[in-house]
Symmetry: C2
Subunit: 551 residues, 2 copies
């Protein structure tokens, strides 16, 4: 009511309104001391004034589905990096950490969410382990989920990947859906009656659409399509034609899995907005999808617009079409003041998640080469920028076919699953990763048993990370000691290390955008068509392990 | 999964999809035994088959804000009438009954909601009484609201009419907003910094926009505009230009106050859709606003689309543009089978709400005429189809200026508020109503003290209702014995009686569409500009009673 100055005022800015597409010229945005937008309109005074002259205000972006672990960072470092790209809310599915450490992962992220200025919307991981076809470090069952939901009924379920469990009405799977929680979906290539059956349990969205017909069918069936642009899986280009005014509130953007190198090089929701507009999408639709649509779809009615009563999540742009972000306010706090604003906040400790790699030392004999006898074997056909694999049938000496293995690392059973993959392009050496969705066993691909065992042993010693062993047997490592998934280093440091690893992999012939993410997704047996876990090769469509005879 | 036949199938229908505007031809809609949509697609079998040939399926309509009492019916009779117009969800603000009977009104509607097949979404009445400037039968304070919300956190607050209470930070008013409930708004003509301040407490919508600039400002400030078309207040025509694809999800339809006569004559959400399309609005936008937009805005994510996992609220149309409804499924049940489907359900008793008119018998001396001395008096200037009144200054013998009075009827203090009104057109007799928003005192307008006292006494004897006293002193009555607001009769019976009363009023010279609703809204001191309660004339803009000198 202008009775006293607001805590902060953005003065004389242009607001681009996502409700109607209208411009509001030369106006002020007043923020209260709790970081909420108190008013939009002319003539507000503030104790602190931010000049908005020449700038355009839009709401902060919402990453509608992501696994924070894929950033390799802790939540605080993650916040520093993504807010630079305009992301002020991220819907966090903690199932990576939960696969290693169980429900302690929920407590960890919920405490981080309390401490952060950005909004981390924590879901309960619904499918830990993702399937019974792999060995995980921990399991989260229905009673555990129920206990957490009773504590906070607002906690929805993260991506419900167990589609067969729903279709075949597995009682344990259905028990997780009791009490009508908010359920994020995951149903790549699910269609027809299976899609109907899967969605009928109340699933709200899906981020696994890779083609236009698939996405259109899902929109018709009433769910929100989260257009994903991760470091490995990249669906924006294929789904751009969806970005119309008609559909704008049925869509959202998400990253799912984004590495810190991409973030440092400018690839995040801001780049998605920019590319969409360059491809002809109207700015209203592009910005809506990046913020208001996502917020609404996720039930977050307190954000997504520059309007009174909303969170003070505001981007100040110098150019709308180019999405040039000049300043970011995160919950009313300028991004450059986050350190000050979070002083005294209690961030959770990573200590309980250290020392999580518990496998025996490997030898070259653990990775025997198959005989070059001309026999055909099932081969995972990988494509850059996709998590889907083809099921190929090739001889062991076909071009670019390499041995790959998944080594159980939680100290449960010492399993080693073995298979073949095409698409890495490695001419020498090996790549290994302790990130291996979702059970997070050790994944390794290589050209020789020696290089493969050396790479796995390097990860065992470092208690997790990414490793590149080159032709000479020297090993380059990015340690990820927190549950074998994350580092406590700052984002730019990690980005730099990852850049060196990518470079090393490229020197060995691997030209994938993110070889480690592609490797890490080979075990995920809820994504078609052929996958490899510590228990062996999985026919995802049939949802079963291949028999020794079939391998 | 087509493993067994669904409970019901709508066979070979065309679905008009509100997500994208696409048509899905020649498809089936399968419903499960609980009345939910299990699947949409070809080839489903059902134990019961409804032919959809030649018909178009759209989702059931959502009336985003209404007072069930204005239908004069009990919930069960209300359901029979509105479902015929395609309304399968109604957001019910019980503040009329609550002003007479307090929180018993919440229990009454919540029990009715359990028993009905249509979805009655019950809010907690937030402003009972609406203001301190009138006498109501009961009050609902913050601790009472808190108690109800603790029982069910999903119960939002009904229209928060006390705008001054928010602007001046009245602690009792702010206490009602504690705990971040969903808050429906009510802010006629509120603009600028007052609008900012009002919305900053988390208000989500407003149904009081009467002009385009007013509605556009509210959309910019991030709230949903509920386009109201009631029996008295009619805003659709003025707000039609809002109905664009850009804005479609920021809008909804509501009736607020609809009498049974209008309903019987075909005026409800179906007519709003029809008129919007006739005026050039695209069918996608019109149907979206009538269902999916409203559902989303109200947080009702389990309906609003013909899609798996949604309520089986489905309209089968023979004509999309004309909105010709052939069949209605309410929670999966064909409308004509509602009686059967509700057999055994426990509807709440109206017994506790009978005998609520507790005023003394009136005499002509209670309604003295002002002297014709040429002095100017404040006069409420009424317009057909609007709840807003002008504040006029006229002599007592100016054309069409009539005495009006509000008689306290809850047995509290025997107040009689007196004033003048222009706009009824009565040439003889009197009209009286025990519906008098929101305190529901007795309202009477007439041409003579005799007719006025006779009309009020008739209502006293009938324990509520509408009365018309004609030039000869004969009295026509529509009894409303339930809290002086509702009848237990069936809708068509009430419609017929109301038609006769309207006819009688017209014969006395009153040409208003709904003279009783217009009379009943004269006491509502939260709608600008000049109103009359049992305590006297109210300057709504200044939020104070006029002094005797000012009258």
């Amino acid at each position: 009511m202008k009775r006293k100055p607001a805590a902060r005022v953005i003065r004389r800015v242009r607001v681009f309104h996502l409700t109607t597409g209208e411009w509001e010229e030369d106006t002020d945005i007043a923020l209260d001391s709790q970081g909420w937008i108190a008013a939009v309109g002319p003539g507000y005074e503030g104790e602190e004034v931010i000049s908005g002259e020449g700038l355009i205000a839009v709401p902060g972006f919402v990453d509608a589905h992501m696994h924070l672990e894929s950033s390799l960072m802790t939540p605080r470092q993650y916040e520093r990096m993504v807010t630079a790209h305009g992301v002020t809310t991220a819907v966090c599915d903690p199932h990576e950490l939960a696969n290693v450490a169980g429900e302690a992962a929920f407590a960890y992220y919920l405490q981080a969410a309390q401490a952060l200025k950005m909004s981390l919307v924590v879901r309960l991981a619904s499918c830990v382990p993702a399937t019974t076809l792999e060995t995980s470090g921990a399991a989260v069952e229905a009673p555990c989920l129920k206990r957490w939901r009773e504590r906070d009924p607002g906690l929805g379920l993260g991506e419900f990947m167990n589609v067969p469990g729903v279709l075949f009405q597995d009682p344990e799977v259905l028990a997780k859906l009791e009490g009508d929680p908010f359920v994020d979906g995951h149903c790549p290539m699910v269609s027809g009656e299976a899609l109907n059956a899967y969605l009928s349990v109340g699933v709200r969205n899906d981020h696994e659409c890779s083609s236009l017909p698939e996405a259109r069918e899902k929109l018709r069936r009433g769910i929100q399509v989260l257009i994903r642009e991760g470091s490995a899986a990249r669906n924006l280009e294929a789904l751009l034609p969806l970005m119309t005014l008609e559909n704008s509130y049925q869509l959202a953007f998400c990253t799912d899995d984004r590495n810190p190198l991409d973030m440092e090089e400018g690839e995040h929701l801001d780049a998605m907005v920019r590319r969409a507009i360059q491809a002809g999408v109207s700015p209203l639709v592009a910005y809506r999808v990046a913020s208001d649509s996502a917020a609404r779809g996720m039930g977050l009615t307190d954000r997504g617009l520059v309007a009174p009563g909303r969170r003070g999540d505001i981007l100040l742009l110098s150019d709308l079409e180019e999405c040039r972000i000049q300043r970011v306010l995160v919950g009313g706090v300028p991004r450059e003041e986050l350190d000050l604003a979070e002083e005294g906040a209690t961030f959770p400790s990573e200590e309980p998640f250290l020392h999580s790699v518990r496998c025996r030392p490997m030898t070259p004999e653990d990775f025997p080469l198959l005989p070059r006898d001309g026999r055909l074997h099932p081969v995972m056909g990988m494509a850059d920028g996709s998590l889907l694999t083809e099921r190929l049938s090739l001889p062991v000496d076909a071009p670019d076919v390499l041995p790959v293995a998944v080594v159980e690392r939680h100290g449960k059973n010492g399993n080693v699953g073995r298979g073949l993959v095409r698409g890495f392009g490695l001419r020498a050496g090996a790549l290994a990763s302790s990130v291996g969705h979702d059970g997070h066993n050790l994944c390794v691909v290589g050209t020789s048993p020696q290089a493969m065992s050396q790479a796995v042993n390097a990860l065992r010693e470092s208690q997790g990370g990414f490793a590149v062993v080159d032709a000479d047997g020297s090993c380059l490592l990015l340690p990820l000691p927190v549950a074998g998934l994350m580092s406590q280093e700052e984002g730019p440091v990690l980005a730099n290390r990852l850049r060196k690893l990518h470079q090393a992999a490229r020197e060995l012939g691997c030209s994938l955008r993110d070889p480690f993410l592609q490797l890490a997704f080979l075990p995920l047996a809820v994504i078609p068509h052929l996958k490899l876990t510590d228990r062996g090769l999985v026919d995802v469509d049939a949802f079963r392990l291949l028999s020794p005879e079939e391998c």
